[in-house]
Point group: C2
Chain length 518, copies 2
C-alpha cells in the first residue's frame, strides 16, 4: 500500500551519538509521504533498519543521507541503492502516550518501551517526553520493578554461578569517596563474592573506575571479570563498556539534559541485578552539599530501595552517612587512589576507615555474622584487606607490589591559606568538586585537591586549608582563581558570626547540582 522508493545512499562520515537518523531533502520526503521525525524502513540486500527522518532543504534529490550508525548496520557504501518506505511509529510510543495521559504501565508495555529505547527506535524527543512524564506523574513501585527488569533483560549479564553475591552502592555526591577500594577487599578477604562494577566520573572529579585505574586496569571483558572473581572473590572494574543496562546510558543522557532523574532507582538496581547481586548495601550520603540534603529525604529514598529490593529478590539495606564534607582528605583520581592504598596499609584518615568498616560490617551482618563492623575492622587492620587488594590488583593486570609513592600526582601544586583564625564551620562539597575539575580531574589523573583541614578543626590565619595539584601550569592558575572566588571553606568561631554563605554574581558559572554517576 505504501510507496517504496529507490534512493541513492550518501554516507555522512559522522556518528549521530547512537541515534539512527536519515536525511532526506524536503522534496523526496514529500514524495515518500514522510515528515521530519517520521520513520522510514531502509532495505538493503537482506538487511533492514528503521531510521528517524530529518528533512533538509539543501540535500540532493533522491538521496538518503545516513550517519555511521546506519551505514555500519547495513554495511553499505556511498551511491549504493536502498529501498526506502514509510514505517509506522513503534507501538511503544503509544505506551509512552498512555503514561503521558495518566495511565500506569504494565510490565509488557514497559518492556516494549525499554527495548525500543535500546534499539534506537524511539527518538530523543520521545524519550524526553517519557522521562518528563515519569518525573511529573511519578513511578509506582511496580513500574520501577518492571523498568529494572526490562533494563536488565535488554543488556548483558555477568553470570558467576555463585550465591550469595554481595555489592555496595553509593548514590554519590561526596567528593573523595574512595570507600569501594577498601570495602571490596574486606568483603572478598572474608570469603564472600563481590564483583564490583563502577562508573567513571561524568559531573564529579573522580568515579571509582577513575580511582582504581591508578592501581590496575579496569577495562575488563565479562570473561576476564569472571576469571578475576573466581580467583580472588572480588574485582573493581569499569561497568561502562559491559553493556549491563544499555537503556540506562540513553536515559541518563536525557536526564542530564533536563536536570531530573526519575530513573535513579531502576538505573541503580538494574545494574546490580545484571551482576547477580543478592545482597546490597546502599550508601546514602546526606548533607547540604550532597545529593540528598536531609535525613528525611534519605529515609524516604531508603524506604523505596527496601521495597524495591523485596520486589526484585535482592536483600537491600541502606546506610545514611554523614555527607557534609569530602571523605578523607584527597579529591581527584590519583590522589584518592593513593589515600585509599595508604589507608588499607594502615595509615589513613579516620572517617574513611570508619565508613568502609561500617558498610562492610553491614554486609557481614546481612550474611549472619554478628558484630560485622568488628570483623571488618579486624580484616582491615590485620593486613588481610591489603593482601586481598594486591591479589585483585594482580588478577586485573596491575602491579601487586604498588606503593603509594608509585602513584603519580600532578607536580604543579599551590596552597590555599586561611585568611583568619577560627574553626572550620563548613566545607562546600560542590565547590571542592568544581575546583578539582577545574584543576583537570578526572581527565588528568594527577589533578585534584588535598584538604589540610576538615570540619571542626581550628586553623590560624596563614595555615593551609587545601592544596591544589595539577599537571599543567595553566590549569593551576585557573583552579587557584576559581578557589579564591568560590571560597569553599567557612571559618569562624561560632555559627552565628558568618551568615553570608554565598554571593550570587551577575552570572552563575557553576552547573546544575544533578550528579548522574550511578
Amino acid at each position: 500500500m505504501r510507496i517504496h522508493m529507490k534512493l541513492k545512499v550518501k554516507l555522512l562520515d559522522i556518528q549521530a551519538g547512537g541515534r539512527r537518523i536519515a536525511i532526506l531533502d524536503d522534496e523526496t520526503a514529500s514524495v515518500l509521504g514522510v515528515h521530519s521525525s517520521d520513520r522510514v524502513k531502509i532495505n538493503y540486500k537482506n538487511k533492514q533498519v528503521i531510521a528517524i527522518v530529518n528533512t533538509a532543504s539543501n540535500f540532493p534529490h533522491n538521496y538518503i543521507g545516513v550517519y555511521k550508525e546506519i551505514s555500519k548496520m547495513l554495511s553499505i557504501q556511498s551511491d549504493e541503492i536502498v529501498e526506502v518506505q514509510y514505517a509506522p511509529v513503534p507501538e511503544s510510543l503509544s505506551y509512552v502516550q498512555e503514561k503521558l495521559n495518566g495511565e500506569s504501565l504494565q510490565e509488557n508495555k514497559i518492556k516494549a518501551i525499554v527495548k525500543d529505547v535500546v534499539e534506537h527506535h524511539l527518538s530523543d524527543v520521545e524519550i524526553a517526553a517519557f522521562i518528563t512524564t515519569l518525573h511529573i506523574r511519578g513511578i509506582s513501585l511496580d513500574e520501577i520493578k518492571a523498568l529494572s527488569k526490562a533494563m536488565v533483560e535488554t543488556g548483558q549479564i555477568l553470570n558467576l554461578n555463585k550465591k550469595p553475591i554481595l555489592d555496595k552502592h553509593s548514590i554519590g555526591g561526596i567528593p573523595g569517596d574512595k570507600t569501594t577500594i577498601l570495602i571490596t577487599p574486606i568483603i572478598a578477604a572474608a570469603g564472600f563474592t563481590i564483583p564490583k562494577t563502577s562508573s567513571r566520573a561524568v559531573t564529579s572529579p573522580a568515579g571509582t573506575a577513575d580511582r582504581v585505574e591508578n592501581l590496575c586496569p579496569v577495562n575488563l571483558s565479562v570473561e576476564e571479570i569472571i576469571k578475576v572473581v573466581n580467583k580472588t572473590n572480588g574485582c573493581m572494574v569499569w561497568g561502562g563498556a559491559l553493556e549491563l543496562a544499555p537503556a540506562d546510558d540513553i536515559f541518563i543522557q536525557v536526564e542530564y539534559s533536563l536536570g531530573i532523574d526519575p530513573l535513579l532507582l531502576p538505573s541503580i538496581i538494574s545494574k546490580k541485578k545484571a551482576i547477580g547481586a543478592t545482597h546490597l548495601v546502599v550508601d546514602i550520603p546526606t548533607g547540604r552539599g550532597a545529593k540528598i540534603k536531609t535525613i528525611g529525604e534519605a529515609h524516604a529514598l531508603a524506604q523505596d530501595f527496601l521495597e524495591l529490593g523485596k520486589g526484585l529478590a535482592i536483600d537491600i539495606q541502606c546506610a545514611v552517612t554523614f555527607g557534609e564534607q569530602p571523605l578523607g582528605y584527597a579529591v581527584g583520581p590519583a590522589l584518592e587512589a593513593k589515600e585509599a592504598l595508604e589507608t588499607i596499609m594502615g595509615d589513613g584518615p579516620k572517617d574513611l576507615q570508619e565508613k568502609a568498616t561500617d558498610l562492610a560490617g553491614m554486609l557481614f551482618e546481612m550474611m549472619g555474622i554478628k558484630d560485622g563492623k568488628e570483623k571488618a575492622k579486624k580484616i582491615l587492620y590485620s593486613g588481610k584487606a591489603e593482601r586481598k587488594l594486591r591479589e585483585i590488583i594482580e588478577a586485573q593486570g596491575g602491579n601487586p607490589r604498588i606503593k603509594p609513592d608509585d602513584i603519580k600526582i600532578g607536580d604543579k601544586c599551590a596552597e590555599i591559606k586561611a585568611d583568619k583564625n577560627g574553626k572550620i564551620l563548613w566545607i562546600n562539597n560542590q565547590y571542592i568538586a568544581q575546583i578539582a575539575r577545574n584543576a583537570g580531574a578526572p581527565k588528568e589523573k594527577g589533578a585534584g585537591i588535598k584538604l589540610k583541614a576538615k570540619l571542626g578543626e581550628r586553623v590560624k590565619r596563614g595555615d593551609t586549608l587545601f592544596e591544589v595539584y595539577t599537571e599543567r601550569n595553566t590549569k593551576l592558575e585557573s583552579a587557584l582563581k576559581l578557589a579564591e572566588r568560590l571560597q569553599p571553606f567557612g571559618i569562624g568561631e561560632r555559627w552565628d558570626e558568618q551568615m553570608l554563605i554565598d554571593k550570587i554574581p551577575t552570572e552563575i558559572t557553576h552547573r546544575k547540582v544533578l550528579s548522574i554517576e550511578r
Copy 2:
C-alpha cells in the same frame, strides 16, 4: 575561569533542521569540560554563536564540526580557527524546570522560553520536556495569553494600520473544507478588511494555501500582502514563509512527534494577533471523524477561545459546525479549488454555501449588521463575491478570468462503487483523507477524491460512491487498493444493522489522528 580552546572548524555540509549543533570528539569535549548536550560558545572574529554539543568517538581531535546553520551565521570556512568555551545552560531551561515541578510561569519567564526556542538555544529534548509538561500540567489562561504574546513578539507582524480587521479560522480536521475561498471575498466585498493567511497541508490532503494556489500565487511577501489588501480589502496567502510566529513552527514539530498539541490555542491566536485581527470567528467542526468529537468538547474549547480573546483584545466568537463528513464533494487541492470557484459562481454544494454564509454572517453581526447570514447570502448569490474573488486573484498575480475548467485535475480516474443497496449511514473522514493522500494529495495538486454520495443519500449496488483522481497510474492503483481495504462509506437501512465499523488488522497502517494544520 573557564577553559577556552582554539579548534579548527570542519564544515558539515548538511543542515540540522534549524538546530545549532556542534560535533566534538570525546577527547576534545573532555578537555573542554563539556558533555553531549552541554552548550559551547563559538567565537569567530566578532561573531559568536551558542551551539549544543554532540560528542562523537570517531571525530578528529581539536576540531569542531558545525552544520550549515552555524557556518552560515559565522560566515566561516573549513579549517579556520574558532575559539570555543563552555557556555552555561540558558536561564529559560530553569523556567521549563519550574513548570515541570508544578509552578506556574509568569509572563517574563514564558517570554524567555519562547525567545530561546526561536533562537535555537533550547534543544529538542528540552522543548519536548516543555511540551510534555504543558500537556500534563495544563496551561492556565494567563500562561496561554503570555505564550500567545511571546509568540507574536518573536515573529513578524503584518501592519495594515486599519481597524477593524476580520478573520476566520477553522481548527480543521474535515476533508474538503474550502470555506475560506468563499468567506474571504464575501467579507471583503462588504468593505471589511480580511487579510487571510493560511497553512499548507501537513497531515491532511489539502490546506487552504494548497487550494488557493490553483487560482493564484499564494507565496507573497509582507509588502505584497499589504498592497493586495489595500487594493481589495482581502487576500488569501500562505502564512508559512511570513515568520508570523516562528516559535510555533518549532513547537509544532515536537507536538507532531509526540501526538499531543497543548499549544493549539496560543498557536492559533498568535498568528491572528500577528496580522492584527480585531474580530475573529473560530470554526470548530465537530463529529466522530473530526478533531473535536463531541459537542461538549466543542463547547469547552469555545469557552477557552472566548476567554482568551478577552485577555488579548480580540473579539472572538465560535461556531460549532457539523463535521461528520467532508464538506462539499471535492477533496484535494485542485478539485477543491474548482468546487469553490463553481460555488462562488452559483453552482455548488449546499453545505458549502451554508457554512460559508453562516460564518461570514457571524462576522457581519460582530460588525453590528443585523441578519448577517442574509447579507452574506446576498453578496454570494448576487455575484459580488465572485467579482471580489477575481479582484483578489488578480491582485495576487493570478488570472482573474479563470474558469473552473481551467483548473487541471488528475487525468487518471477510477470509481469506487457501492456493494449493496441502502442509505449512506456514515462516512469516515480520516479514511477519505488517507485515500486522497495516497492518491498524491497535497503534493500532486490534481490528485484527490470526488464524492458522489453523502450522508443520508440512497444508493443502489453498483452506484458510484466516490471517484479517485491521480496524476500517475501507480498512485491510482495504490489509492484504489487502500480504498477497498478501508471502506470509508457505511451503507445500510438502519443504524442497528451494521454494528462493525472497523476491523483492526494485525498491523495498523494509518497514522495518528493528530492534525497539526493550524
